[in-house]
């Protein structure tokens, strides 16, 4: 299928085949057909009834069922050809059974079928059928010496219908194209540029916060301040906190971070471990409180807090000091706001 064919399909899918792929549209068209029959009865079209006229009216009804196929796609070639053939056959009957040129309902209705094929996504069949209609009417009018005003009256609604079909098709394509504009390469590039801007601003803000946190210690080292126990303790806490955030962004929560810092300051070895997550996740507040309490309770030795491999929503705390133990906090890891993934640092 070429690009044009693809556009036809996209337009048809976006608009329910231009509104024709519904049962309601089918029965509404059938109702329109019945009003034509009523009008024909008033005009005496069926007096006396002839097989040719009845067959032509039945054929356009069949055309309605073909045209309103409940599929969000343009008609297949076979169906489109059948609708075109039905419309042209009805045109021939409508014209040859008329003695003088004037507005004829059967001709109008067969035009609707062709014009609606334009809207549905079968422009080639619709236009070819429409051209055939016009040529046939003009040829018949010339051959039978009909007055030009009669031919104009006969073709007025068909011509309006075809223009309407073209407008219908063009506007529906515009509507669908406008809604899908965000899929274009240009829109993608704009989106990536804007996202990069968001990321850069976030990067700078986070870096500024990291800088503010580490600058006092780095400045002391740069200035040659002697490294005593207090500096050692502060450096150890700072280093551990930064490393935790890099290794276990999922577990970074104010309560856990503070508890880990306090424990490290007491000399407890604290390690937070969590695998990288493909989707944004964070630690639940209640779970964070339980983890923080467990870390605070450790008075010596080490504490390892990890997100489970088997159950990525559970957090396990293992202590090996004077109070060794193992605690599991289920449902601790919960989805985070997808619009703003939690920072990895």
């Amino acid at each position: 299928m070429g690009p044009r064919g693809e556009l036809n399909v996209v337009t048809a899918r976006g608009t329910g085949a231009s509104g024709l792929a519904t049962r309601a549209a089918r029965w509404a068209m059938v109702f329109v057909w019945t009003t034509g029959i009523a009008r024909g009865l008033l005009e005496g079209v069926f007096s006396p009834p002839t097989v040719l006229v009845i067959a032509a009216h039945a054929a356009v009804l069949a055309g309605v069922f073909l045209l309103t196929a409940p599929s969000d796609r343009p008609l297949g070639r076979g169906r489109a050809a059948a609708v075109t053939a039905v419309a042209l056959a009805a045109t021939v009957v409508a014209v040859v059974t008329t003695t003088h040129a004037a507005d004829v309902w059967l001709l109008d209705f067969s035009t609707y079928l062709l014009a609606l094929m334009l809207a549905r996504g079968n422009p080639a069949f619709g236009l070819a059928g429409g051209a055939g209609q016009v040529l046939f009417v003009v040829g018949w009018g010339t051959a039978t010496a009909q007055p030009p005003s009669g031919i104009v009256a006969m073709l007025a609604i068909p011509m309006l219908s075809f223009v309407l079909g073209v407008v219908w098709r063009v506007v529906l394509r515009w509507i669908v194209a406008r809604e899908r504009a965000h899929r274009s390469e240009q829109a993608r590039a704009e989106r990536q540029a804007a996202a990069a801007e968001v990321a850069t601003r976030r990067f700078r803000r986070e870096l500024a916060e990291v800088r503010a946190e580490v600058l006092p210690v780095l400045a002391e080292l740069r200035d040659g301040i002697p490294i005593d126990d207090d500096v050692h303790a502060r450096v150890a806490v700072l280093e551990g906190t930064i490393r935790d955030r890099m290794r276990a962004p999922t577990l970074t929560h104010p309560l856990v971070t503070t508890a880990a810092a306090v424990a490290r300051a007491r000399g407890v070895r604290v390690a937070l471990l969590a695998p990288a997550s493909e989707r944004p996740v964070r630690i639940d507040d209640d779970a964070a409180a339980r983890i923080a309490a467990a870390v605070r309770d450790a008075s010596d030795g080490s504490v390892v807090v990890s997100v489970g491999d088997a159950d990525p929503t559970a957090v396990t705390i293992v202590t090996d000091g004077t109070r060794p133990g193992r605690t599991t906090v289920p449902d601790a890891v919960v989805p985070a706001d997808p619009a703003e993934p939690a920072p990895t640092l």
Binding site: V32, A194, R211, I227, V235, R243, P338, A339, P343
Partner: protein, 404 residues
């Protein structure tokens, strides 16, 4: 610690730019506005091709006020076709109600005001009915819109019957034709519903694409931030933990470098497009490494210039290789060589230390995987490690403009 970061909590970014001009109207409003515009645009064919010629022919048969009201309805349809895409939603809804109501009222009154001596006619206002009644699709329930269209199709016949006691043949002929306009109404109901679904799904896709783009950009930036902190901050803090008393000069220099790097990174612009001449590029890399390594040799510096951001990445990756050698290799000799040629650059850091089995190195180790290989991958470059236990280590980082 990290008070401002609020660890683990979603970070809001005040004033963050919108990804792309997201639609300001709801999917339903957008669908109604555009499909209604299609209705009146098609209706213009009927107005120009049928209603106005009939008006010119019948103007004398109807009173001025009735014609004026009909022209007002016509003008409203023309206005909807001309500016319907931009009118306020509230005004649109008023017009979508009032135009069909006015047309039906005129049809109902047509035979009451028709000149008593005039022949029976199909009133010109009747030509406005297809477009006018289809507008009910956008303000009324579907059943009401369909029912109103059928009833409206019979209003001229009803008017003739009420005010003259009979229905003229021309009206009787045209009544089924006008009732058949429910075909339009039903088809446009279908179009409207499908376009609403389309708009909703495209809005969802647009939001997902925006979120995906932001997530990817943030992940990229955060990987860079993690590398920078690992290389520049953690390395100094780790070293500090190994000393007591006055810090040695090398540690003081590293701390000063870290402060400078953090300061520069904060004001960093997006990728620097500048090109650095080959000789300058080689010298800059040599200077960066020389702070930690006395033995740095420039083997070649010729050919096309090197992009500035490539130079930064290569130097940082090579510096991390030097640090790794100092930390882990227990080497007697560590050396580096720099080669700039044909717009590309290659740095090799080698030591005669204890070596290791690269296959056994833990996957995802920050220094090797991220600070060296990850950094090079980001710029389209490459990195490699050649080592074996007891045989020293050779780390190379390279960027080739043709390959990238």
């Amino acid at each position: 610690m990290f008070r401002g970061l609020r660890p683990g909590v979603a970070h809001r970014i005040p004033g963050a730019p919108r990804m792309s001009p997201a639609p300001s109207r709801s999917p339903r409003e957008r669908a109604d506005r555009r499909v209604a515009w299609l209705v009146v645009l098609g209706g213009m064919l009927s107005v120009v091709g049928q209603a106005l010629p009939d008006f010119l022919a019948q103007a004398a048969l109807f009173p001025v006020w009735w014609n004026a009201a009909g022209l007002l309805a016509t003008a409203a349809l023309v206005a909807l076709a001309a500016v319907g895409l931009w009118l306020p939603q509230r005004l649109l809804r008023v017009l979508w109600w009032s135009v069909p109501a006015l047309v039906v009222t005129l049809q109902l009154s047509s035979y009451a005001v028709l000149d008593s001596g005039a022949p029976p006619v199909s009133p010109w206002v009747w030509r406005l009915e297809p477009a006018a009644l289809t507008l009910l699709v956008f303000v009324a329930r579907p059943a009401v819109a369909v029912g109103a269209t059928i009833v409206a199709g019979g209003t001229v016949a009803l008017s003739a019957w009420m005010f003259t006691g009979a229905v003229p043949l021309i009206v009787a002929w045209n009544t089924p034709f006008h009732m058949s306009e429910i075909g339009f109404v039903v088809i446009f109901l279908g179009i409207r519903n499908r376009v609403i679904v389309l708009n909703e799904s495209e809005d969802t896709a647009r939001r997902a694409a925006e979120q995906s783009a932001v997530a990817a950009a943030i992940a990229d930036r955060e990987a860079g931030l993690a590398r920078l902190v690992h290389d520049e901050v953690l390395s100094v803090l780790n070293a500090a933990l190994m000393f007591a008393g006055p810090p040695p000069q090398v540690l003081r220099d590293e701390a000063a470098t870290a402060v400078g790097v953090l300061d520069r990174a904060i004001v960093e612009r997006d990728r620097d497009p500048r090109l650095v001449p080959a000789a300058v590029a080689a010298e800059q890399v040599r200077e960066r490494l020389a702070a930690s390594l006395p033995e740095v040799r420039v083997e070649q510096a010729a050919g096309a210039p090197v992009p500035s951001h490539v130079l930064d990445a290569v130097a940082a990756a090579a510096l991390e290789a030097v640090r790794n050698a100092h930390r882990h290799a227990r080497a007697a000799r560590v050396a580096a060589s720099v080669r700039v040629r044909a717009g590309g650059i290659r740095v090799v850091v080698s030591d005669d230390g204890v070596g290791f089995d690269p296959r056994a190195a833990r996957a995802g180790r920050m220094g090797l995987a991220e600070s060296i290989a990850g950094r090079m991958a980001d710029i389209g470059g490459a990195a490699g490690v050649e080592s074996a236990p007891g045989e020293g280590t050779r780390v190379w980082v390279a960027w080739d403009p043709a390959a990238s």
